[in-house]
Subunit: 293 residues, 2 copies
């Protein structure tokens, strides 16, 4: 297949490098500088160098149509990418984001090609503009949001070294990950602690449980089942620092809008704990900007 | 008057030093070491040295009865002090604490001497075991909790260099300060920011307002009036780091139980924002202990 990967963060670099062993992959980056660097020196995945054609996203209208477009940008960059892609794409578009804000946007829009959403369980850390570490080997789950191409895509993309799985229900697939993110990400960022601390400290755990309750109810999930899932993730990632904690510490924007913001938007009644973490993260992001000036 | 001051933190040292210019003051400290240091070298208030007789609290039953007992310990130490004092005192007891947990305890107990509560607006910072800086010159307000001796006490204690004021309503006097503390203390400690940041950052301000609403309703205060008061304090103390922030950073216990805990205990309906900060402060205190091990 001819595949265009948009976004060269950790997941974009990983997907481009892995898929290019079988497919014809082109990578679209935000900056010209990164595109030049990757085109000339390749992606460095762990110790291996993979040669890849990369161009800046602004050159999208100059590229040949593809059989699949994979959007790997952060949630808050989707809109600008989508505005460029919407007129150009003529094949399935696969979204690989945390959070669910993009599903609201996509369900309210009209377009002629299938939309597939994915849930990435792979662990990847970007070292620099062309280097990525594959830190957790797992799967990418795909489900149909519009159209019916996800199952066929899984067949084309799946490889034992980079596995894909088909899921029937996109809302369940993305929802359970979103609920876990809505609990773990903001709390670890506010308290500046590793994931495991939320289980080890009874006071933090009490708040985590309240956040899980609010998010599960907003998304129509069973609370007890979700809390078990959150506990499981906290245990298996106890030494990890969450992406939101890293974002806050680095003074970068966070994905709180598409995580806690999604819970707020879909809540049927007051979600004060979610409101609390939502505003706290907004404030801490701004405060970081202020102190780093 | 013969006055016994119990507790040699910032307020205890300040009160003992100031009152000793007119009265016969004895200071009771927690440790033998501090009592010896103060008895031999005096209290150092700003640049001035004031000679004072100090003994450890354990020697309470050896001291001559006084005309007034002033309790200047932190809230969480009141119970142990009170258990020692209750059999010994035969004169008014004045409590100078933040928070209001002691009023619940005192209103449910029986004793034969008048109880006066005070609200300290003086700013004082303890430098070491015998040194204190008087950083904000203001008043100490006194009101009757049980008995009717507050007005007479104000007459005896008041001095133009260390003023006292009589207040008719102990609940209003302590309540408005508690509400301000319930907003400012936990939020600045959780976010690790100076007081002014709660006004400057709209997201933090939104949460501060919610906390103020919950505390005002729990204590039967008017929200709009209280919010104005909180804003006023935030503006006049914008460059300050709150006592709870300092406690959390130093790994000391905080006064959250007698501040947010009092709001929770007196709330007529759910106070989720107060619950959130209460558990957060408990967790951060514990976490600080863990990381400082």
């Amino acid at each position: 297949m001819r595949i265009i990967v948009i976004g060269a963060g950790a997941i974009g670099l990983l997907a481009a490098a892995k898929l290019s062993t079988i497919h014809d992959v082109q990578l679209l980056t935000r900056t010209n500088e990164q595109a030049k660097l990757i085109s000339s020196r390749g992606i460095c995945l762990n110790e291996e160098t993979i040669h890849i054609n990369a161009i800046p996203l602004d050159g999208l209208n100059t590229v040949q149509p593809a059989d699949l477009y994979i959007i790997c940008t952060k949630q808050y960059d989707i809109k600008s990418v989508w505005n460029k892609l919407v007129a150009h794409a003529a094949a399935p578009v696969l979204f690989l984001q945390n959070g669910m804000a993009h599903t609201d946007m996509l369900l309210s829009a009209t377009f002629e090609y299938p939309i597939v959403v994915g849930s990435v369980e792979q662990g990847a850390v970007r070292v620099d503009q062309r280097r990525v570490l594959h830190t957790g080997k797992a799967v990418i789950r795909l489900a149909n949001l519009a159209g019916t191409s996800a199952e066929k895509l899984v067949q084309h993309l799946h490889d034992s070294t980079f596995p894909f799985l088909f899921e029937k229900d996109w809302h369940r697939m993305l929802g359970r990950k979103l609920i876990a993110n809505a609990v773990i990400n903001p709390l670890t960022a506010i308290y500046r602690v590793k994931n495991g601390e939320l289980l080890d400290c009874p006071a933090f755990c009490a708040i985590a449980q309240k956040l899980c309750e609010e998010a599960a109810e907003a998304l129509d999930f069973d609370f007890a089942e979700q809390w078990e899932y959150v506990r499981h993730i906290l245990m298996t990632t106890k030494a990890n620092r969450s992406s939101m904690l890293k974002d806050i510490e680095a003074g970068r924007p966070t994905e709180v809008e598409s995580i806690s913001g999604y819970v707020q938007k879909h809540a049927k009644r007051a979600v004060p704990y979610t409101d609390f973490v939502y505003y706290s993260i907004l404030g801490l992001t701004r405060q970081q900007e202020r102190t780093s000036l």
